[in-house]
């Protein structure tokens, strides 16, 4: 989607988004979520726009964005697959599952497949600990994920 947007268009659209949120108390995270929802990541060129609108330094904006694992500094794949790596899922074999999914996709965590279909991310708890192991694909949740179910999920990625 970003391919169609020139730097100016991104900056302009960002300013609109920021102005829609800046009345909030502590508007930074809502703004970053909104920007990521719009662009799929937080483009570098929006940092000075945020800094200008909120009257803070660019360093501070950069510091906040890089603190939170959820915010991406480059585009992800068309789908984001998150595999829970926390203890409850470990107790039900999520480490093996993680190995299997890396094998199936041919990528490691934090990487995107060459066809840009899917980005693989670890997640530390989806709150589905009584039906472990758990996974999330673009906001859809899956419990008791086994090899079969995993192949189905990966198959749905349209690649």
């Amino acid at each position: 989607m970003t391919m169609r947007n020139s730097a100016d268009e991104i900056a302009q659209r960002s300013r609109q988004i920021i102005r829609g949120q800046k009345h909030l108390e502590g508007p930074m995270l809502p703004i970053l979520h909104a920007l990521q929802a719009e662009f799929g990541y937080i483009p570098d060129i929006v940092k000075p726009v945020i800094a200008d609108e909120l009257n803070i330094s660019r360093a501070e904006v950069h510091g906040v964005i890089t603190f939170y694992p959820e915010f991406r500094d480059h585009p992800g794949g068309r789908h984001i697959l998150k595999i829970c790596r926390a203890e409850a899922c470990q107790s039900m074999g999520s480490d093996d599952l993680a190995d299997r999914v890396r094998q199936l996709l041919g990528i490691d965590f934090h990487q995107t497949t060459p066809d840009e279909a899917v980005t693989l991310e670890p997640v530390y708890c989806l709150g589905l600990c009584a039906c472990a192991p758990a996974a999330m694909l673009d906001g859809e949740v899956y419990g008791r994920v086994n090899e079969h179910c995993l192949s189905e999920i990966v198959g749905e990625l349209g690649r």
Binding site: G26, A86, V123, A130
Partner: protein
């Protein structure tokens, strides 16, 4: 008469296929021309039975589960709409032993009602606590909460009433109620279940907290990993505004209160209250030194109550039934009920609300039914990633803040992860250090550096490199982290590490030389 069918909308139910089940029921109703409606309730918290479908009959609600979409036709053929027999039939829901043995005070409506129906909420005693609170002077509300013995359910166990009193007595132009819904501990899902299954109880608890302390604005800070909870909570806040529960005049009174929901962005440390406040303000989620206490200088420097979801959701029943009613449950200084979350490798995983005092063994073996794999239970981790691993030898420990502390553990947010005998405790100790290294906010050295040195030291023990010396070193490092860290992340990571090393020494023994030489 219209038949009512309940299909949960809880994220765990959805993760197990509830959406497909609901769709199959919808099309079957249409195909057969039956006068029936589907209510999307929360979960009852019996996840081995999800998706759990219920039908309202003359005798009460009858449960079927775990139901797959492919079972639906057969269920209709068997007459499940009138509660008839079927291999998946579990009988009357309230008679299912896992539910019957519970004392549901905070979760009394969860899984029972349509989470977004205020009519349902009122029908099941909702808003009674708030109505009583509005008629009371704030100091009396605080006194009731103090007398109830309620302690912070997020993990710290600090008396809720004392926190409220500090904020009530503070003088400021604005005060805030911040609900800590950043439930990041593995094995915990109680906050999520309340937000998805009974959001109005959290809203009611926050409004009461506002009236008691003089705060007029509340924030629910939750996790971006909880999109379903965010959606349900947001909708509930809108409904509550429309109904005048939130707004400039709460239920027609002189009190104003409103709530906003905010999402974090994947940082575990933001569950720590001062880190959460920084995050809410739009900063890096760096832990703040205390003092000043958030109760005096919290969100934007104003007096702020930071309470866990379950603490706040327990307030309405305390106000409605009285402090003594709540306090009479429990043991020692752990009063009332606690929603225990039984998770991981367990046969009957789910949420079990009960008075404090059950032994760990009763919870894991009898209620949880042992492991899902059928193998022996080797260890259970109580209290999330910062909680201790307990061996079977400690299964007589009663579920109580002080009793767990006496055994070098903690109950935390009351999550229990069960592991069978295939677990390698050295690997779990390593993970605890690794997790701390990934999630450390970086402010204090023991946590930031200690966690990485911890991973390296555990690795050396695992490879048989000077194991005795490295075990002493690891214990010393844990000591430094425990007493030198600013917050519970670095300070409590030693719990899983030390408990694993102390209770499971066999997993920390040197490996054969041939491997060690590599």
């Amino acid at each position: 008469m219209t038949i009512t069918i309940f299909v949960p909308r809880d994220a765990a139910s959805l993760a197990l296929g509830a959406e497909k089940v609901a769709a199959a029921i919808t099309s079957e109703i249409a195909a057969r021309g039956i006068d029936a409606r589907i209510v999307r309730n929360g979960s009852r918290g019996m996840f081995w039975l999800e998706p759990l479908v219920e039908v309202r009959t003359d005798h009460g609600r009858v449960a079927y589960g775990p139901v797959k979409a492919s079972d639906i036709k057969g269920l209709f053929d068997a007459g499940f709409l009138s509660g008839k027999a079927h291999p998946l039939c579990l009988g009357l829901t309230k008679e299912i032993p896992f539910l019957r043995q519970q004392t549901r005070l905070t979760f009394s409506r969860c899984g029972v009602i349509d989470p977004l129906s205020l009519e349902d909420y009122r029908h099941y005693q909702g808003l009674k606590g708030l109505e009583k609170a509005i008629a009371m002077p704030p100091a009396e509300i605080v006194a009731q909460v103090t007398e109830s013995g309620l302690r912070g359910r997020g993990g710290a166990g600090f008396p809720t009433g004392i926190k409220w009193k500090t904020v009530m007595e503070a003088v400021a132009d604005r005060k805030y109620i911040v609900c800590n819904a950043d439930e990041g501990d593995s094995a915990t899902f109680a906050d999520r279940m309340i937000m998805e299954g009974d959001p109005f109880v959290l809203i009611e608890g926050m409004v009461i907290a506002g009236i008691a302390t003089g705060a007029t604005k509340g924030y629910v800070y939750t996790r971006s990993e909880y999109p379903h909870a965010i959606a349900t909570m947001s909708e509930a806040i809108g409904i509550a505004r429309e109904a005048g529960i939130l707004g400039p005049s709460v239920l027609g009174s002189d009190h104003a209160f409103d709530i906003e929901i905010r999402a974090g962005a994947g940082a575990y440390v933001c569950g720590e209250e001062t880190s959460l406040l920084n995050s809410l303000e739009g900063k890096r989620g760096i832990v703040r030194a205390k003092p000043p206490l958030p109760a005096l200088q919290g969100f934007l420097g104003r007096p702020t109550v930071v309470n866990n979801v379950i603490s706040l959701a327990s307030i309405p029943v305390i106000m409605d039934r009285g402090a003594a009613f709540y306090r009479d449950f429990g043991m020692g200084r752990s009063r009332g009920t606690i929603p225990i979350q039984i998770a991981g490798n367990v046969k009957y995983g789910g949420l079990f609300e009960t008075a404090f005092g059950l032994s760990l063994g009763e919870i894991v073996d009898h209620i949880g039914g042992g492991t899902a794999t059928g193998r022996p239970v080797k260890a259970v981790q109580v209290g999330g990633p910062l909680g201790a691993y307990f061996p079977r030898a400690l299964f007589d420990t009663p579920f109580d803040y002080e009793a767990f502390a006496a055994k070098d553990g903690l109950i935390g947010h009351a999550g229990i992860t069960v592991f069978d005998d295939t677990v390698d405790m050295l690997k779990q100790a390593r993970f605890a250090m690794e997790f701390c290294a990934i999630e450390s906010c970086g402010k204090c050295t023991p946590c930031r550096i200690g966690s990485t040195r911890g991973v390296e030291t555990v690795d050396r023990i695992g490879r048989g490199i000077e194991p005795d010396k490295n075990k002493v070193l690891l214990a010393d490092l844990c000591n430094t982290m425990k007493f030198g860290s600013l917050c519970a992340l670095g300070g409590f990571t030693p719990y899983p590490v030390m408990s694993a090393m102390t209770h499971f020494p066999e997993d920390f023994s040197p490996v054969p030389l041939a491997e060690a030489a590599e």
